[in-house]
Amino acid sequence: MLKFIKELFVPSPEAPAPDSLVLFTPNDGSWNVKQVRRLFDAGVGRLHVQYRRDWQLKDYEDFLKNIPETFWPRIVLEDQPELVLSCKLGGLQIHPTERVPRRWPKHGVLSAKCHSYDELLAVDKSCRYVFLTPIFESVSKKDHRPRRTVREYAVILERWKSEGGCPAYALGGITPENIGEVREMGFDGAAFIGSVWKEKDPVRAFLDLERAWSGRDARKLKRKY
């Protein structure tokens, strides 16, 4: 009975945002698990936990302990593949040159991040999705600028898709102001780091990005943010 009453006052999580909108955690200690919980509650559909040199297996386990299991399938790691498999997490980010085994478990979505066109060419097209970065000047990293023009990226994507490439997501400097351009270039999704975590309210920042991407098809939210 007490549990039932308690549950009445705990807001249920929002429906997930499209998983083609990916949130990366920063690769340092500038974020915390409480923020991640709030972001999941608000509907972040896919979270890539960036590799941290200072994290060991126990740090990942502690992180997961603080996240309700219902959100684990939305979590992708760049490290600890055994943990991805044993905890049935959402996926693993592999190196762009790594091949995708045919018998790999379906829950463990494999993805890769490419910093150049040459890296993209090396990616196994049976990855579930691939990131191309940096598309715009980075919000969080100084001097992290794109090596190609918007037009060049559009041509690269066209070629990638015509050769049967997997969905490609833009990463690097994506803001609500330029996310429309990302769509026009032909990207299937977008990923964010600084444009969420550098903001005072990361939840609000993520929702603004999602709205800018989805337009009229935006999710209906239960609560106001």
Binding site: E78, D79, Q80, P81, E82, V84, L85, P96, P101
Partner: protein, 66 residues
Amino acid sequence: MRVTVNDEARDTAAPTLAALLEELGVAHEPAVAAAVDGEVIPRSRWSAQALMDGTSILVIRAAQGG
């Protein structure tokens, strides 16, 4: 014996998963996971996991920031 590693046939004399991963040069890489016939084998059990003819092995490496 002949096993399958990531969908490719391979002849090996490695009696255990640990020996095979050593042969592949990935045994000491920290971000590697391996599964035998679909079952994930934790690193602590690699040495005890025997291989037989026809065994299917999956080996995958995480990006670790790459």
